[in-house]
Symmetry: C2
Subunit: 346 residues, 2 copies
């Protein structure tokens, strides 16, 4: 399937959020700001502006729509949108250190350009800035006063970030395990990817003082959508086109990642599972081994499980959304965005 058309909300949210995100980064000290601007694509390595727009902005779009869906204005969701983008980018900068990745979005990663110490400290700075943006948008963004529910919003940001960190730690632990059950793999993905999307899909509503039931339904929508998104990511990590993904072929297999298709294939217990496990025990896999491993993952049902998971989680996300009392316009944009995210690139 070709890529579906870009939902208009992505552009609309980017227009509303990018200036605020830039303003937030501009409050960082002179040592930190250039590295943060580089990572976000707003500046080149030498500090010169790039005219970058901050990327596709899937999380900010969710945050803005979640404000609009409960009757709030776009700008009511902006502090939450900026916070989500900052937490997401903090995690990317630190994950690149952890995974020793030298490239992201076809550019050198922060640590490979400025050093590991610099990447650690700039990631830390973004994490704290995310909290400040929600607690005091006037000071950081020059926007109006903090929402009445800023305390509740910042609690949700902290809880989602903690869950994301725990998920990342679990993912790191998987690297030294030979087999990972599908259940633990999904637990990891719910933390690493689901928690922050749940927060993004509900934080605008929280900032607008929406009722608890509506907030919970939006959070559930985001968590389930995150699991669908991650299942697609896991499929692309093995069978994605390098031209589209920007990663090498069989990327996740090269890195011995216990992603969902691999976990499911190994758990399947079929004959090929033993051969796959033996291949993955090798410290480095040759190109031919990678191709064989991908075939084995598919033969053992791993591809089918992940494909099914993406469909089921999307259905579940849309079910959660339908259970909430939302304004029809923004609700249908949330549906469009969810479908887009899951249908991309396969």
């Amino acid at each position: 399937m070709s890529n579906p058309e870009l939902p208009v909300v992505l552009g609309r949210a980017r227009d509303a959020v990018t200036p605020a995100l830039r303003a937030a980064l501009d409050t960082l000290s002179a040592e930190l700001q250039p590295m943060a601007a580089y990572h976000h694509g707003f500046a080149a390595a030498d500090g010169s502006p790039t005219g970058g727009d901050g990327g596709k902005g899937f999380r900010p779009a969710l945050a803005v729509l979640s404000a609009e869906a409960v009757g709030g204005r776009t700008e009511d969701g902006v502090p939450g949108a900026v916070a989500m983008e900052l937490v997401h980018n903090f995690s990317l900068i630190h994950d690149d250190v952890i995974d020793n990745d030298t490239e992201r979005r076809h550019r050198p990663t922060v640590w490979s350009l400025f050093g590991v110490g610099a990447a650690v400290i700039v990631g830390d700075a973004l994490l704290v800035l995310a909290q400040q943006v929600v607690l005091d948008p006037a000071k950081v963004l020059g926007l109006g006063r903090a929402a009445a529910d800023a305390g509740s919003a910042v609690s949700r940001v902290a809880d989602a970030t903690a869950a994301m960190i725990a998920g990342q730690a679990l993912d790191m632990a998987f690297e030294s395990e030979e087999r990972v059950s599908v259940a633990r793999c999904l637990e990891m993905e719910a933390g690493k990817t689901g928690a922050l999307l749940g927060c993004a899909a509900s934080i605008g509503a929280v900032l607008c003082g929406a009722p608890g039931g509506t907030v919970s339904a939006l959070d559930r929508f985001g968590v389930e959508l995150g699991l669908a998104y991650q299942a697609v990511d896991d499929l692309l990590g093995i069978w994605g086109d390098p031209a589209t993904t920007g990663k090498p072929t069989f990327s996740d297999l090269r890195q011995h990642k216990k992603s969902l298709p691999v976990a499911a294939a190994l758990e399947g217990g079929e004959r090929g599972a033993e051969e796959l496990a033996a291949l993955l025990r090798r410290s480095e896999l040759a190109e031919a081994d990678l191709g064989r491993a991908a075939v084995l993952v598919e033969e053992c049902g791993g591809r089918a499980v992940a494909t099914e998971q993406a469909k089921l989680r999307l259905e579940s996300a849309l079910g959660a959304l339908a259970s909430a009392s939302l304004l029809p316009g923004p609700a249908s944009e949330l549906v469009e965005l969810a479908n887009f995210v899951v249908e991309r690139q396969f």
Copy 2:
């Protein structure tokens, strides 16, 4: 001067705070908890308990006293005390990565034992846990409900953490600069050390809903005390006894740190300053060079400036404290603690 007697508040605060700190760490996931417990000295590298009590606990004592000084109970200050300890330890774990330090408190650092990636993620986890402890002490610590002013307290924690991170980034930038002015050095130390002590010395009062003027005075007390503390630390970093400090002789000179005595000596502009600058340009200094550099720092007035700074900042801290309306018992314990911190080991 020999070490003065340990203020009783340190033991009292430790008894109140350590169980809560342990409870907070126990909420971390199974992958993160053992590394966090190791860093805090509660567990050995293999996870077995050490009976450690969490260290001298200077920041928690400030936090607890700041609650008591405005008429609160010890336990009212505990969530703030735990948060300060968590933020402090997050920064130590990441600083050890940044500085490539293999030992802390005579034990291997987290990164040198578990790897850089593990140290990055466990530091991240402690930073977020600090926020959660203040926002929801019931969930994390099993203590009572969040204070009415939890939102204000968590804002102060975020602002102090951001200032600390900016100070650390400035300190890192100094490494590649040949000279650093005394003014910039003090700016760096106000961020790196002062901000968190200001937060520690006021957070208990914030959690008890104390008036703004009282909170500001306590914050000022902590910031000034932090600058006094750092001046002493800088003196010990050059002339401290390795048996007491646990660091090698001339430790800061070995690492080319632009600490206050060095900055003042280089800025003094006296004849020895050129020789000192030339020595510090060498990538590695021999033992004889280190001894000579220490003599030059002293001859150029760097030791006197830092000694004077410690005295002046302590006076200023005590002045700020005297300006606040505080209960006399806890206030005199704050004075005792401040004197102890500045008089240690010289």
